[in-house]
Symmetry: C2
């Protein structure tokens, strides 16, 4: 018995030829209709889309990519567990769409190194790659030799890739000046170690403290809630207790706030806390965190546009964009009671 070809499996996708046959036109015409090119009457377009819908036809992305030799995909390398990255990719999607690009996500997870995620993206021949988060100059340079690259976050310079970063130093100064203006003199910084922007935030903190003749105290931290909770324990060992803390980022700040409250202290009554990022978590009503907001949609916009300029406008010189930061005063800062 000959095989009928019907395996009963739902994954035999219809092709352009099926649609063409059903409508009674050429495959080329179907292609034209689906790409929205001129050369087909409105009536034909309607019939083609109608037939496609009935058949459940959708173009094969792999075939389109292969033949057109022109990817309309932006690869985005990100860490799913990083809330700030999630905020960024949610902003990247509409920006990419505006320019006619799709987004392909490359996830970096505990079991999946950056290199693995990169190879996957390059395997899909994405037109460009947006790299969120930390990366060394060597990594970025190597990647940029293979694909147009925009690094989002790290303060790196190079003429083979673009970057979009925030004015972390200025943001830190805004945060600390705010605390000083409220009357705080004993302000501690829980830093972000070697993570993106951490050095500049430290610098900004130190500069303001020096300017006001105040002693700088830095507790080593990281950009996580755990590190904030840990730092809070350190804080409690200080005598006298600092009246304010400038955290390396929002996640760290949230950890600090919760740990302090758990230990029976009030925020901002006993201790004021400022974060950094302006993440969604900071906005939650039970957190209501005073923070330095990075311009997330502006960053997403600049990153996508940098990629588009290289892709569609032929720009080849590097471009390094720095987005402004903004102090958002909310409920975790107040004048010191002591």
């Amino acid at each position: 018995m000959p095989n009928t070809g019907d395996t009963g499996r739902p994954n035999r996708h219809p092709t352009m030829a099926d649609v063409a046959a059903k409508v009674g036109v050429s495959r080329a015409l179907v292609s034209i209709v689906f790409r929205g090119k001129e050369g087909a009457s409105q009536e034909t377009r309607d019939r083609v889309f109608q037939a496609a819908a009935e058949l459940g036809y959708h173009p094969d992305t792999a075939a389109q990519l292969l033949r057109s030799h022109r990817s309309r995909h932006l690869g985005v390398l990100y860490t799913p567990a990083e809330p700030f990255h999630v905020d960024l990719i949610e902003a990247i999607y509409p920006m990419a769409e505006k320019h006619g690009y799709d987004v392909v996500l490359g996830a970096q997870t505990p079991t999946r190194a950056m290199t693995k995620a990169v190879e996957e993206l390059l395997g899909f021949r994405t037109a460009a790659v947006l790299l969120l988060g930390d990366a060394t100059l060597a990594e970025v340079t190597r990647l940029a030799a293979r694909v147009p690259l925009v690094a989002v976050g790290p303060h790196l310079r190079g003429d083979a890739f673009d970057t979009v970063s925030s004015d972390d130093s200025r943001g830190a100064r805004l945060a600390v000046e705010h605390l000083v203006e409220l009357g705080h003199r004993h302000i501690v910084h829980v830093d972000g170690g070697v993570k993106a922007g951490a050095a500049d935030r430290r610098r900004g903190y130190r500069a303001v403290m020096r300017k006001h003749g105040l002693p700088a105290t830095i507790i080593p931290g990281a950009y996580t809630e755990e590190s904030g909770a840990l730092a809070a324990r350190e804080l409690l060992r200080c005598d006298p207790l600092p009246t304010a803390v400038f955290a390396g980022n929002d996640r760290c700040a949230v950890g600090i706030v919760h740990a302090l409250r758990r230990f029976g202290l009030t925020v901002p009554g006993d201790v004021s806390v400022v974060g950094f990022d302006g993440s969604r978590a900071a906005q939650l009503p039970h957190i209501d965190l005073t923070t330095v907001r990075q311009d997330i949609s502006g960053t997403a916009e600049a990153a996508v546009e940098s990629a588009i300029e290289r892709l569609d406008d032929g720009r080849t010189e590097a471009k390094h964009v720095i987005r402004k930061t903004q102090l958002i005063v909310r409920g975790t800062t107040a004048p010191p009671k002591r």
Copy 2:
């Protein structure tokens, strides 16, 4: 002047032919080496990989997919902003890899509906789709007609798709029994509305309360921190104040804990709180949430294996897996003081 073909752009990817030419072998042999098939000596393999590395060659996924007519990609539809989904995808990656599959992420965001993400995944011709989170029976059934489908989370039944869900009802009973055993009599449930598992968790709560002759009180909620914070305000209006709360999920529980502490109450001193999910957030030291853990890695494993069975073993009957839940007693529950 003829165009040399060198545009100065870094995105002219080398092909298999380039590698073959460099090594001095046929393209077919390079293909064999890259797919790890037999038919090439160890020495040839080394030379091929060496040349590929020097050229920066990586196979074109689109071309492989197109020609082999056999996708080794699992599409995963998820919501980046949902921490529980992030925990799941991090577990899905290694499981998929174990079976020789790659993962393609389809993101559902505020600006990007599920249908859009689905079309993208189908455009890539992923071999199967794992659907995380909420979906209606109609949606799931329609999708399952086009691609082998595993729905993770929703308590749906159908013979066109597989599901993996948790024993939410039993989990809820474990949580509430725990509170009753501690001596609580006034236990409120902040529910998850129409979200996945919410109905079963409500049922479990009601069953235990009824069994012990206790009055059931349900505050309408959602699976978010905001809803928890909101519910905490409701709670404070209760007279007398309930001594324990069973939250619809961990995010909601975290919102409740924080809001209560912010209002000056202690957890578990004044109020005990139990969550649901066993998410990473619940484990954080400053939260230390008592919760009902869903078997995340077991769920990921079952979901991937269900897909693999349809793909590689030809299974066509539906399979509905229910994973056990487990009570994890941590620091947010204690005997009532009142």
